[in-house]
């Protein structure tokens, strides 16, 4: 089967690999299974009278009658019990550089086997992946990709980590959790790319089986979250604090959208909060917005705006501040906060040079926080 035939057969499932593409695609094709939905009981919910349930996974606390689905569109009350419909049903499978997530202080220059199912528990008007996140699972092509196979593929293609990403991994919690446990047994690490809309109990459980979490802090006002995210800010801040306190690796991304969340005042408030609550060492990425989904009336973020945010963050005391989605910008690189020299030089997702020695700056021996090996 050649590549063209493969894509035709798989019906448009995203399957891209930065290396070893042909072999990977052949492998995954062999794994191809029925496109039906799963019916695996959800972990966090309570049964209510008259076959109703309340979901306890995320701060929405959806209360649902029989045959109804939650806001995420991937969990359904069936006869008074709550089920995930996407367990082992991956709609997107890629091998990505870990820098694409972005994780800049986590196993640099390695690949992550990246997977997602359909669905999301918010509805960001600027979503970059809305075609898979804002749909129900039966509306996209997906394949059976159970946890043991995910781990096997990660190992076979030299991916030291698995990334749960693209849509919102919280909504495929059970799949992510079981895969993470399997991965740990085989020394494969787990990373989560999330909006942080998750309740403390499931988050505490997740933290026990994963190694790094990147949280998208999408703005810094409840109004912005209500209008543009259809969610709430406070639970996200709580999630950030829980992850930071747990000791697993944390990075923050802030997508800077012209006129919506790009004021100096807001950026400064975010940075002050992070320094105060999390500490200055958490990496923060200010990413460039491109018009997408329901926000097409705004231009891409001017680079000068991102540079201003970068400057403000440094002024507020953050040590590792990056500019994202501007390939070639010098703020893609990691600078030693002590001697100010570049310790990891990046261009786009590629690493040009690493000047670290056992997690320390090779020039001044200053420790650079992260998971480096």
């Amino acid at each position: 089967m050649d590549r063209r035939q493969f894509f035709k057969t798989t019906g448009g499932i995203t399957l891209l690999a930065s290396s070893g593409m042909t072999s990977l695609l052949t492998d995954l094709y062999a794994f191809r299974g029925k496109a039906n939905l799963s019916q695996v009981e959800a972990r966090y919910y309570k049964e209510l009278p008259e076959r109703e349930i309340e979901c306890l996974l995320c701060p929405r606390f959806c209360k649902l009658g029989d045959k109804e689905r939650g806001y995420c569109g991937v969990r359904e009350n069936i006869g008074g019990k709550y089920y995930t419909l996407v367990y082992g049903k991956a709609c997107s499978i890629n091998i990505d550089p870990i820098e694409k997530k972005p994780f800049f202080h986590f196993l640099p220059e390695t690949n992550a086997l990246s997977i997602a199912t359909a669905g999301c528990n918010v509805n960001c008007k600027f979503c970059q992946n809305w075609e898979i996140s804002q749909v129900r699972p039966e509306q996209v092509e997906h394949r059976d990709f159970p946890p043991n196979m995910v781990v096997e593929v990660a190992q076979r293609y030299n991916c030291p980590s698995i990334a749960y990403t693209y849509t919102e991994p919280v909504i495929f919690f059970e799949y992510m959790y079981d895969t993470s446990k399997e991965a740990r047994k085989k020394q494969v690490r787990n990373t989560v790319v999330t909006g942080g809309h998750i309740n403390p109990e499931p988050l505490q459980d997740l933290i026990k089986v994963v190694d790094a979490i990147k949280i998208d802090l999408k703005g810094f006002s409840e109004q912005f979250y209500a209008n543009y995210v259809r969610g709430e800010l406070q639970p996200v801040l709580e999630a950030i604090k829980i992850v930071a306190k747990s000791g697993i690796w944390l990075e923050i991304v802030y997508l800077v959208i012209p006129t919506l969340n790009d004021s100096i005042r807001e950026i400064r408030s975010v940075c002050q909060w992070l320094v105060k609550e999390i500490g200055p060492e958490v990496p923060v990425h200010f990413s460039r917005f491109y018009p997408m989904y329901l926000v097409k009336n705004l231009p891409p973020t001017p680079v000068s705006t991102l540079e201003r945010a970068h400057r403000v963050a440094l002024e507020e005391g953050l040590h590792y501040v990056y500019i994202g989605n501007v390939p070639g910008h010098k703020a893609e690189s990691t600078f030693c906060p002590k001697c100010k020299r570049i310790v990891i030089k990046r261009v786009g997702y590629h690493i040009q040079n690493v000047e670290l020695n056992r997690g320390r700056c090779r020039f001044c021996n200053h420790p650079i926080p992260g998971i480096w090996s």
Binding site: R51, E52, E68, R69, Y71, Q134, R136, R230
Partner: protein, 298 residues
Amino acid sequence: MKASKVIIVRGRGVLSPGKEVNKKKLLQMYKRGLQVLTEQSDLREGFRVLFHSRDRIGIKINTIAGRKLTSLPEATLGLANLLAENGSQEKNIIIWDRTNRELKDSGYRLNLNGGGVKIFGTDTEGVGYNPALISHLNIGSRFSSIQSQHITTSISFAILKDHGLAGVTAGMKNYFGTIHNPNKYHDFNCNPFVAELFDTELIKNKHRLTILDCLVTQYHRGPSFHTHWAEYYNSLIFSLDPVAADFIGWQIIEKLRAKKGLPSLKEEAREPGYLFTAAKMGLGTANVKKIQIIEEEV
């Protein structure tokens, strides 16, 4: 301004527990309702007020709750036959909902390519949701190609139900079944989303008639079926005003709730405020003083 007209036709015994639908009575109910609504004793003339003979008419039904609380095939096909006998072409009538599974579970026999009235769901191969995203106010959705392409006019033939989030689900909310992401529009008691979805061109410009199926009405713990909270109300509601029809449906639910000593929807903080939003948007009337209610019995 002329009052919006809402016709409530009652057919005692048209449906009773464990019994077949009385099709003859049901037909009489349709005829009476449509005659009074269109002010035409000749049904063919009455339908001419609403539809062109070449229209492809979609009958959007509601089968989500399963066989016990669904648009019954006998009722839907009865309506389709009436249309076909009075000026529309059978092949141009489509009975539809989101999925074939739900249609089949509700007792429908699918008919995509055969002669006669078409019956199929959006998830039929080759049908699906349009790839283009329609953005309107707070709505951002893909529409079923049945709504956008297959049909030219639409009847919302909805089950009147209590709804845990929206308060009431009826003719307007029935159109949630035309989009790919209805789960995204249940916040804030579905307000303003029900109104804003109806206000999209694909719905507003094609909608001609609301018929609320109140043969069995779930007045509490909806939208799923609970025998204990369901009433054999044995009525159909007809209106050209989508907001007024649902508003009167809401009042019926409140009456049934009060009769059982249940709190009002307002007291349960789930009053269907989307109806007032819809009225403000000019989609219809949500004021009982401006609605002419005509009650009939057959």
